[in-house]
Amino acid sequence: MSAEPLALVVDDSDDQAELLRRYLERAGCRVVTASTAEQALLLLDDIRPALAVVDLVLPGISGVDLAARLRETHPECLIVISSVLDSSRYPEADAVLPKPFTGAQVARVVQQAAERG
């Protein structure tokens, strides 16, 4: 495993995905982005990310289902839910980034993943 942890970002909004990529890179991660759960699942066949930031409202397979599948296939991955929805509607996760989040919050989540790794 390289020094820089790998982060997967799944968000159908390009702006949000790009924002997360920037924050995560500033926090010292390599970042892979996907705009749908289906695309993310394809990527996940080849990569083992240290953390995955998943948006809940996605076209096709929802963020909730994706998070549940990730928990099975990649138990070592820190699952982070990021959404504009009310936090009461979040599924069980390792960390949350309610939108709008700040760079500091993203950095804390990366820290959490590093400690776990």
């Binding site: 909004s13 702006d15 949000q16 924002l19 920037r22 924050y23 409202v57 504009v84 929805l85 009310d86 009461s88 939108k99 709008p100 989040f101 700040t102 760079g103």
Partner: protein, 585 residues
């Protein structure tokens, strides 16, 4: 008194009246007729003659005068009293003179005098018998004024004839008295009967009138009953047997054209689960009760005076369910005795659909608004905190303005979403054991910079030690932030905002007191209404949309607490947030 009358009856009663209640002229008629016949006989029969003529003429004159008086009295409608009786009295004297003028004691016409005697004798009162006696005596004595009685038999005639006439008068007087009494009694009876008949007619008329009114009411009720198709109305007896139902019930429950009277029980319209839920906590019903316990519990609640209004599901005939708002009330008969129940159900399918669409809409809108706002805020931060490209102070200042406004929009979206959730009764509370004081002091602390900038002293007056209670820390913090930021907004520079915590038994009371503009008393009760803004707020151009207090109250209410406010315009306002608290032993 009015009696039914026809032309024929009129004619009869007119004749009857003439004889029943004869006028003086009618009573005088027999005397006049008989006298006229006597005159004619005297003139035509050779054996008879007027002697002396003057006396006979005087007698006729007296009778004619009396007849004239009778005519006058008749004309004046006087048909009783002494004045009338003067007529027969004059007749007696006149006929006495006539007798004297047609042969005196031997006259053929002595009997004529009986007619006026009968008249007088029939008058009420015994004194008239004496009058008859006196007058008869005088009348019969007249012939003897010129030639005094020659024999003892003539003397006896002077005495006996008036005596016989007087006795006859007395008998007639008595008979007519008895007859009069009988007549009066009969008349009284007849009047009574007539009154009773009239009363009966009035009662019948009244009955017809009230029957018409009843029919009208019945028709009105029937048309209203048949017109209520949007509500299902089912009437039952005390054991829940259906006794009537309206077209709305048939449509809602799907029992078309079925004779339901006393055939099915109302509990059939409820799914098992609903009946179980209704029956929960109710005392066990009697074993022989044919009604489901849940239904009986609902009826019992109605009997005890509670209003029974529930949102629940009813079972259709085809097995599907329909969401309704159900009201159960007691049904009484004409005497006010409870005889059963009325179940009124309103189909809520559409309302629920609308509420769901509204929820979806609000959720979609808030998602669509928050997503771009999140990007704006995120990219502003990226720009500001880029270590490789530091910004100038002025650029940082501009970005701060952009960020502040984006955050304001974000809060507004959050508030709108929250009130929508409150309205649909489904905002989530994450309650746990928390220290109220830490939330209050955090709220005061976070408002401090704003208070400083506004030149307002923000003071926290907090008791010692933790105040533990079960609450959602985020929501309570949100409610408190609203109160504190309101207080700061509505207080002019140089004023003071005091946040305190009081601990009466079983409660924790957070007070937020300001020395601000105050609220007019007539607006206090509308203060917690959504989008309501106090006139002091609009007049002084204090920013806001009128959601804060509505949200605060909803949060406090959801915690089982209450909000309270008192205010003096121009002096200040105090809001009290009362939260329930378990007593520490």
């Amino acid at each position: 008194m009015t009696r039914p009358s026809g032309g024929e009856r009129d004619l009869w009663s007119r004749w009857y009246a003439v004889l029943d209640d004869p006028s003086p002229l009618v009573k005088q008629a027999p005397t006049v007729v008989v006298l006229a016949m006597a005159v004619v006989l005297t003139l035509t029969v050779p054996d008879l003659a007027f002697h002396p003529l003057a006396t006979a003429l005087a007698g006729i004159l007296v009778v004619v005068t009396a007849t004239a008086l009778a005519a006058v009295l008749t004309f004046q409608k006087v048909d009783a009293g002494v004045a009338v009786l003067v007529i027969p009295m004059a007749d007696i004297l006149g006929l006495g003179l006539f007798r004297a003028g047609t042969g005196g004691a031997g006259s053929l016409f002595a009997g004529l005098i009986l007619l006026p005697i009968l008249w007088i004798a029939a008058a009420p009162g015994f004194r008239w018998v004496l009058v008859v006696a006196g007058l008869t005596a005088v009348a019969l004595v007249i012939p003897f004024l010129s030639s005094p009685p020659a024999s003892s038999s003539e003397w006896l005639r002077i005495i006996i004839t008036p005596t016989v006439f007087s006795i006859a008068a007395a008998i007639i007087n008595e008979l007519s008295r008895v007859a009069r009494i009988r007549t009066e009694e009969a008349e009284a009876l007849a009047a009574e009967r007539a009154d009773a008949l009239d009363e009966n007619l009035r009662v019948v008329a009244k009955l017809q009138e009230s029957e018409a009114r009843y029919r009208e009411l019945l028709e009105m009720f029937r048309s209203v009953w048949n017109a209520t198709t949007a509500q299902a109305v089912v009437g039952t007896d005390r054991d829940g047997l259906v006794v009537l139902w309206n077209p709305g019930a048939a449509a809602l429950l799907g029992y078309e054209d079925i004779d339901t009277e006393y055939a099915i029980r109302a509990d059939r319209f409820f799914p098992r689960s609903v009946l179980d839920e209704l029956g929960q906590g109710a005392p066990d019903a009697a074993d022989d009760d044919p009604l489901a316990p849940g239904m009986r519990a609902a009826f019992n609640a109605t009997d005890s005076g509670e209003s029974f209004v529930r949102e629940l599901e009813l079972l259709r005939m085809n097995g599907t369910t329909v969401p309704v708002r159900l009201t159960v009330t007691s049904r009484v008969d004409g005497l006010g005795t409870p005889v059963g129940y009325l179940l009124v159900a309103i189909d809520e399918t559409r309302a629920i659909e609308v509420a769901r669409m509204k929820d979806e809409f609000v959720g979609m809108i808030s998602h669509e608004l928050r997503t771009p706002l999140s990007s704006i805020l995120g990219y502003i931060e990226l720009l500001r905190d880029d270590p490789q490209h530091p910004l100038t102070d002025e650029q940082l200042q501009f970005l701060a303005v952009a960020e502040r406004n984006a955050r304001r929009l974000l809060k507004l979206v959050g508030d709108l979403l929250f009130t929508a959730q409150v309205e649909s009764g489904q905002f989530p509370l994450d309650t746990r054991e928390i220290d109220l004081l830490s939330i209050v002091s955090a709220s005061v602390e976070s408002a401090m910079p704003v208070a400083d900038a506004a030149g307002i002293a923000l003071v926290g007056e907090l008791p010692e030690g933790p105040v533990m209670l079960r609450a959602d820390p985020v929501r309570i913090g949100q409610a408190l932030d609203n109160l504190v930021s309101n207080a700061i907004k509505f207080t002019p520079r140089g004023g003071q905002v005091t946040v305190g915590v009081g601990l009466p038994a079983g409660e924790a009371v957070v007070t937020v007191r300001d020395t601000g503009l105050g609220i007019p008393p007539e607006e206090l009760d509308r203060l917690f209404t959504r989008f309501f803004r106090a006139s002091t707020a609009t007049r002084n151009a204090v920013p806001g949309v009128g959601l804060g207090l509505n949200i605060t109250k909803a949060i406090v209410t959801a915690h089982g607490g209450s909000m309270d406010v008192s205010s003096d315009e121009g002096v200040g306002t105090e809001f009290r947030m009362v939260l329930p608290r378990q007593q520490t032993p």
